[in-house]
Symmetry: C2
Subunit: 209 residues, 2 copies
DNA sequence: CAGCAAAGTCTACACTCGTAGACGTGACTC
DNA sequence: GAGTCACGTCTACGAGTGTAGACTTTGCTG
């Protein structure tokens, strides 16, 4: 758990700032941008609310840094695009079981979608990190469209299975769900469903930097 | 548009209550449960904030009625399960184009997901209306699982394409998106991907490993 | 036309939120 | 060991929220 009891930290700006940031990640992921209060974040970090604004300028700036921190490391680490659908399906299933308490970036996105400012910050982050990184793994034309489509499907499963918590989907047998999601994701990222192959073929293999 | 200018309505309890409810549908769908204020809802209906509580008891009760009103009519009206994937894909694509301003129940769900109370109300509504109705159309075993899975995928597309607004997905060619979504949805609701057909058929024994 | 219950409004309360400025206090340097 | 500057806290403000009770006005009915 990331719930430190007030750990009597000696005075250290860097450590305190890191503690606040970590606490903010937890709070924003659990309650969303509007749902998490500055005082609550500060208390979990063992400081006062004012220090949050002193180090991060404002709640919005803090959220911006949280999004960066959370989206920067690769969430999905696929080795090759062949087994991508399977691996994503497997990971997603595991992280969205009722018992799991994984703090996923998707939760942060879902729970902050109601606030327009936070939403815009998340959108920029998604495109800059997850979308681009995923698109680089997809062969065929228009990889960005298929990568964002895959992200959207993943987000949807997170939403209904873990946030909203609809019963049938939440209680679904992991093996069954994984197998079915693999089919679904495969259809989403397949190079071409049935359209002629000449459209936008030029950029195949164009690795991003 | 549902934005009435204060239309000088004569005193009529039923009409006023209906106006408040309609205004609440718009406000909650646009801003979510927390984002929409009682005063704002009342003003759009041409009344004072107090009247809202007088007629609906509380904001939460109002939201409950809104969810009922919004989820009761069938959003997706498929004739048969064969063309279901295609029709859903088509409708979803049309409603999530950047130009469209359709107030969809999915938006209400997405934007209210951050609030636990509202979330629970939405969950109950989804299961009671959309999930059950959709499941009735799906042949094969465990239709509830596949119906909720389809709903989750739809929600995900709504989220990224219309709420978050990621660029590639939002700008995607409607025909391309429809075609691809049809494949995806087809994989989600297909009676059985590759598992033997005897599983889940006889659930009286409950021998699910 | 008069009366009266219903429809609608006004004022106000208790609370939470993010944030600004003034004020202690700790740890490191000479 | 004393000075000093960064680190951290305290008090408080202004705006916003949902809601309760007392008040006023309207439309219907006799």
């Amino acid at each position: 758990m990331t719930l430190d009891p007030p750990a009597e930290r000696p005075r250290n700006a860097a450590a305190t700032k890191a503690a606040i940031l970590e606490s903010a990640v937890v709070a924003f992921t659990r309650s969303g941008y509007d749902g998490a209060g500055v005082r609550e974040i500060a208390q979990a970090a063992g400081v006062t609310a004012m220090l949050v604004n002193r180090y991060f300028g404002s709640k919005e700036q803090l959220f911006r840094e949280v999004v960066d921190v959370v989206l920067a490391p690769p969430t999905i680490v696929p080795e090759d695009s062949a087994t991508l659908a399977h691996r994503v399906a497997e990971t997603l299933t595991a992280r969205t079981t009722p018992e799991a308490e994984h703090l996923d970036p998707f939760l942060l996105m879902l729970r902050s979608a109601s606030n327009p400012r936070a939403n815009e910050i998340v959108r920029a982050g998604i495109e800059r990190y997850a979308g681009r990184r995923l698109a680089a793994l997809l062969p065929g034309p228009r990889p960005d469209e298929r990568s964002e489509l895959l992200l959207s499907l993943i987000a949807g499963v997170w939403l209904l299975r873990k946030v909203v918590g609809t019963t049938a989907l939440a209680a679904m047998e992991p093996a069954d769900l994984t197998r079915r999601l693999e089919e679904v994701f495969g259809a989403a990222i397949a190079p071409d469903p049935d359209e002629p192959a000449d459209r936008g073929r030029a950029e195949s293999g164009g690795a991003v930097e």
